[in-house]
């Protein structure tokens, strides 16, 4: 304990000022990841239903979208959106510019588009894995398509999707680090500022790595609880 205190007193990097920078970065990272997951998750539900549909007019466009966004690097998508919007003629004079001027919203849009593509495919897989027997039973009860979706297919599909979706959440947290390349001061952006200010790469980055690690374990814990509650019937006895 004394060794730790001595170490803290001797260092000139982890001052209250830099810790505040890390805190600001943490808030930005959590905002970015949380918002893109919520928005992406909501959009992914109808898209997954369309993608699982047998009608090619519904499923093909979604297929194209998920293939493009899962088949290209997130960094490229971020560049396209961040630099691309400035090329739209006259956008600087519209109220949209208030939104796109900073880097936060272009990054949020890129993240939403990316996570939606992955989440759609995860949900689609879970929807298609619904056993035929359950659907036939629902039909025999005279349920309409909408009733079947709401009462039978979606509830069990969401449960089945949880393990795969927890991977996506953690992937999103780690991928959010690239926001720092377009001037956003997220966790990694704060670490880069501090590294450049004190020329001390190791402490700056190892500290931020620890924060990411803690966040990851937090997410894992939440999903473990969720799986225990919602997938209890699938646990081996």
């Amino acid at each position: 304990m004394e060794a730790i205190i001595a170490l803290l007193e001797r260092n000139d990097i982890f001052t209250p000022a830099t810790l505040m920078q890390y805190w600001g970065g943490l808030v930005t990272t959590v905002q970015l990841v949380f918002l893109s997951l919520i928005i992406g998750g909501l959009i992914a539900i109808p898209l997954a239903i369309m993608r699982a549909s047998e009608n090619p007019w519904l499923s093909r466009p979604v297929w194209v979208y998920t293939y493009v966004f899962r088949g290209t690097p997130l960094l490229v998508q971020l560049y396209m959106i961040y630099y691309g919007v400035t090329l739209i003629d006259g956008i600087q004079d519209t109220f949209w510019w208030e939104i796109f001027r900073g880097a936060f919203y272009p990054a949020l849009i890129a993240f939403v588009l990316n996570t939606t593509a992955y989440t759609t495919e995860i949900f689609r897989g879970a929807i298609e894995a619904t056993s035929r027997g359950e659907i036939e039973a629902a039909k025999a009860y005279g349920m309409s398509w909408a009733q079947r979706m709401r009462r039978i297919v979606l509830p069990s599909a969401f449960r089945r999707a949880i393990p795969a979706y927890s991977n996506e959440v953690i992937f999103m947290l780690h991928a959010s680090a690239i926001a720092s390349v377009v001037t956003i001061i997220d966790l990694l952006g704060a670490a880069r500022n501090i590294y450049a200010q004190y020329y001390a790469p190791f402490p700056a980055f190892i500290f931020v790595a620890c924060i990411y690690l803690i966040l990851t374990f937090g997410i894992l814990g939440v999903f473990k609880q969720l799986e225990k509650r919602l997938l209890g019937h699938l646990r081996p006895r």
Partner: protein, 252 residues
């Protein structure tokens, strides 16, 4: 006894060979492009004021041109300390914070900094509250803006070309950059102009000029390089190279 003597003599000979520090090849770290100090000519060769001046220095000290190592700015001091190169010759302003980590040569030039803004957006350095001002991360311009433009939103970039793209795209109200670099990078661009005067005060931030940087233990190399710079300043080589790249006098 005789053997011991020979061994001791051999060891002495080795240590003296090391302390003589004859450099036949100096690896030099540089952050390019940073025109007109260092950039690539159309055929891909590194060129610019510091490249030419650096090669003259290396010729005097080691008898051959420098071996240039291109390194992004925010990793340039760690790269020196990690022995990826032996000297930084990349427009590094001498200041106290850097002197804690590296050893500087005598200064070899100084340039003012300046604000650049898109035409007609009304940016004035004196009233920058709420404006977005771009700087390169961890430069003296960053320090200045952080301290004096407290009401402004400071946006920090890793490279100067990213910053110029954002300035032209309308994301920044202004950028604060080394004046010759700004003038050169915006050459032929009519939509962005310099705003306000050249800024080189206070020296506490802008430093006593730009010097070559070394690891602290390489004091002998520092002395040789400082002597070579002095020689070039006196024999007219420095002026010839400077006039090739600048209209203003940056000699120090």
């Amino acid at each position: 006894m005789k053997k011991t003597l020979i061994a001791v003599a051999g060891m002495l000979a080795m240590t003296s060979a090391v302390t003589a520090e004859s450099w036949d090849n100096i690896r030099v770290g540089v952050d390019a492009p940073y025109p007109p100090f260092e950039y690539r000519s159309p055929d891909g060769e590194l060129t610019g004021f510091e490249i030419e001046l650096g090669n003259e220095v290396c010729q005097i000290v080691s008898g051959s041109d420098c071996e240039w190592v291109v390194q992004a700015w925010d990793g340039i001091i760690p790269g020196l300390l990690a022995r990826k190169y032996d000297m930084i010759f990349s427009s590094m302003s001498i200041n106290e914070e850097r002197q804690k980590r590296v050893l500087f040569s005598e200064p070899y030039y100084t340039t003012p900094s300046a604000f650049f803004a898109p035409n007609g957006n009304g940016f004035m350095p004196g009233s920058a509250d709420g404006k977005r001002v771009g700087v390169q991360r961890a430069t003296i311009q960053d320090t200045y803006v952080t301290e004096f433009l407290t009401g402004a939103e400071v946006v920090r970039y890793t490279t100067a070309d990213d910053m110029i793209v954002d300035l032209q795209g309308g994301r920044l109200d202004a950028m604060f950059i080394d004046a010759p670099v700004g003038i050169e990078m915006l050459d032929g661009n009519d939509s962005v102009t310099q705003v306000g005067d050249f800024i080189k005060e206070p020296t506490r931030i802008f430093g006593e000029g730009v010097g070559a940087a070394f690891r602290k233990r390489d004091a002998a190399l520092e002395e040789q390089v400082s002597a070579a710079l002095e020689q070039l300043k006196n024999d007219g080589t420095y002026d010839t190279i400077m006039q090739k790249y600048f209209d203003i006098d940056i000699k120090l």
